[in-house]
Subunit: 283 residues, 4 copies
């Protein structure tokens, strides 16, 4: 498949925006192959994703943004332009649980996830062998004497050193500081092992068992300063019953976590997601 | 299908309980057609449902309980015995929203729900015509001058007058007093329009929209003194996305509410549910 | 909500189509509030739905189509234009089973389904009272002496007499002739009580039980000459197990049938569906 | 958790079977911790699974079967007795696609799947490195000059040499001969990449795309002589739409395949499955 350009746009709603963007693409020889648009009527907010083939575009890649800027300015757009063959550099953070880390690495290796995984960082040494097998640098950054700040600083350095665009928290059980969140805004994706906003915080499967729920779920969301409260990207659930122990819920939930996280990361890498307040538009 | 007896048993776990119950049934000529047993290992709690054909049982229906009592005593059982052809008398409480009321009446009329619906009570006059069409007495019991206590007293009288065994809250938007809850212990089923424990309380669809969830759900539970905190019987969800307004969520959720409530009521009427602390075993 | 115009477009793919359509809307003062576009790369086929507010459009409703025609011609479009406040006239056909008929009528009465149900036709007399309660003319058109051709002719007359735009087969168990199918092309929606293409034809729940499936489903599709083979609009499933009899599957499936049919009819009425060969694009 | 014994029983229905089995267990000091029973009324067939703690059983493990035989004979039972700490020896067969093989190996390594994987056999060389990483012998058994019989004979030898109790076809794309099927009766589990009986045979995702289905699924079943027609153990589905290509369906379906296969294998290893004609009872 040929390379495409992807414009993600959000702005106050007014007539003519779709025409302006589509006409820009057409005027420069681009062929739209996927366009999704949404208007939030409550707030008169406009959102759009346009994916277009680059083959016959009469501008160099580096010229497109400059050419588009006047259109964007006219409608006070927040926008981004990316190209489908430019892979995001992904850093994965994990703690003890291996299943989400493993799944992410595996989808990357098979090509399902079109990214470059450049580093795995963990506060545990457990996954060194796994990372080596996948050929990814592994940084074991333990918390020493309860000094979380220093540990986080070293995590941040590792991510920066490896040029990470997108941070994937693959069951990383440390709370990130507001500073770290701010360093990768809307570019840190976490998987929480419950159907948020149910069971915010620790031990959701145990609490799900205690509450006697009949479904357990998982939630992928962008990380914000507030714990487990960032914009939700994807959720799913699986049916459980009284015969399932907390360990059973954990195993059943792990299957959901893997799939939900992988979808969220894929959609982010395909530039399908626009954050909007504390919500997401997923095209 | 021939009539069956259904024994529901819970007690502390120890060896020999299944054998004792099954031997009792067999000794009196009963044929077990469905038996489910569960042990909760955390608390060493034992649960069992036995359904047996009555055809060749050598006891009269009214004698079975007396004959079983010594077995029950030996194992300190909490237990119940019911017969599949003895229909529960159901009272349905509703407020403005008609869909769960209508669905319950309809499943009753088609025979899907093997109960006698003996009365519909509402704090609104809206459903009088509907109840008349189904041939069920309708009591409009409004809240006058904000006097909820008096209104609830009249609701209670209506339920008692119509000999109600099971109260179904079909989107009844009034909180029941502890006294009313205590009058039908584990025999009041509510449908809450969210995936509990997410969105306890009012306006769950609006709050679901604000939180940006990707699934909305419904929860059927036994009513206890604590709002939306009773033992969960059944839950289900439906996928939503950013294009859905609060009204859309409400319509999509209504389909889930109907089905979830109907399952919970059916299972209750089939004696499939054992409450256990704040959980349920659903056989 | 204000009235909107909805353009549905399909044509061979080429650059500039989105821009042309959106520019047309913008040039006449329309504000796009929902636009979805899809390109099928295998066949280079282009599909688009544009919904735009009519408030400030500088053309009368009856002028828009003429004004758009040159744009449509330029790209060899198949297209339609409808207005959100013009309700389709719906005729419902049913046989013995009432649940889909009842559900359709009910969603119409509550306003969930923005249509005019103008007639109910059945080869059985059973639903006369139901139709009367909803205030819809009921035509009982039995098959006399096995003469299906005459019966179908009378069905067709009833549909024509009531000015039906869209025919909903709400568990109507008669096969339609090619002539009747051709009279409402892509405007007859059937609900089949299986997950097609599994269990095409009669008695799908019995066959599902015999095959021992662990899910049963339902399929809404446009009717074509070939039985159960028309373009699928929507499908869903529900989990079953060995404890469920054929009757249980039928009841569980009925809940899925209702929801799947109602979604398909709603989407059709919202002009969300484009038929494409034997497939559908559902925006 | 302490070791348990698991009795799986099927026989013609008659009164007293549950009592006889439960009394046998109780008489020898066993404590029942999970008992599920089902009667198929159509055929008067009786099914039961009893799991009991071995701690205080007054028989040696090897004596239990002999002691139970008279009970079994009295009711003409087909039955099996296994112990929860005796691990099945599993052989995995794979072709090109790695995801089910990998998932099976991984669940085994993490302990989620309580088996011994003793050998991986493939008609392709691709998975040698993977098997080595997991420490499992890998047999590459290609089809040479189209001679399938010789290849299958070598596969069979590998399975026998490694003492395989259960064969898992993890997307193994060769049809097994009746002889091989007969060698592991009800002990060969296949994952088919469709919601059977839809899309029996080759290329189900391509055919699903062509048929325009709105869900794709996967089916785990015991292998019988008839292709894709054995008793179904588990099925699940995932929602798709017109934007998904055949490749997308393949990736989405792969997630379902993994989970469905893993459940079927786990349930088999937990002795939860009784084959019954061409159906399964899954307790």
């Amino acid at each position: 498949m040929t390379a495409t350009g992807i414009l993600l746009v959000s702005c106050p709603d007014q007539p003519g925006i779709v025409a302006a963007v589509a006409s820009f693409v057409a005027a420069h020889g681009g062929n739209v192959i996927d366009l999704q648009q949404h208007t939030d009527h409550t707030d008169s907010a406009f959102f759009q994703r346009v994916e277009f083939e680059l083959d016959h575009v009469d501008l160099g890649r580096e010229e497109i943004a400059d050419a588009f800027a006047p259109v964007a300015d006219r409608y006070a757009m927040q926008w981004s332009l990316r190209f489908s063959d430019e892979r995001l550099r992904v850093g994965v953070l994990a703690s003890k649980e291996p299943h989400c880390l493993q799944d992410t690495l595996n989808r990357w290796r098979t090509g399902e996830l079109p990214v470059d995984v450049t580093v795995v960082v963990s506060n545990h040494p457990d996954h060194a062998e796994l990372a080596r097998w996948f050929g990814v640098p592994y940084h074991h950054v333990p918390i020493v004497d309860g000094d979380r700040a220093t540990q986080e600083e070293r995590v941040r350095e590792a991510l920066i050193d490896h040029g990470v665009d997108l941070v994937v928290l693959a069951r990383y059980m440390q709370v990130l500081s507001p500073e770290l969140c701010a360093a990768w805004p809307e570019r840190i994706i976490n998987i929480h092992h419950s159907f948020l906003p149910a069971f915010i915080g620790a031990a959701p499967y145990r609490r799900a068992k205690e509450r006697g729920v009949k479904l357990v779920g998982a939630t992928a969301h962008y990380v914000t300063e507030e714990l487990d409260d960032g914009p939700i990207i994807e959720q799913d659930v699986v049916r459980v019953d009284h015969r399932h122990s907390v360990d059973d819920l954990t195993l059943l939930g792990a299957d959901v976590e893997r799939v939900v996280l992988s979808r969220a990361v894929l959609w982010h890498c395909q530039d399908r997601i626009i954050r909007y307040g504390n919500q997401t538009v997923v095209f």
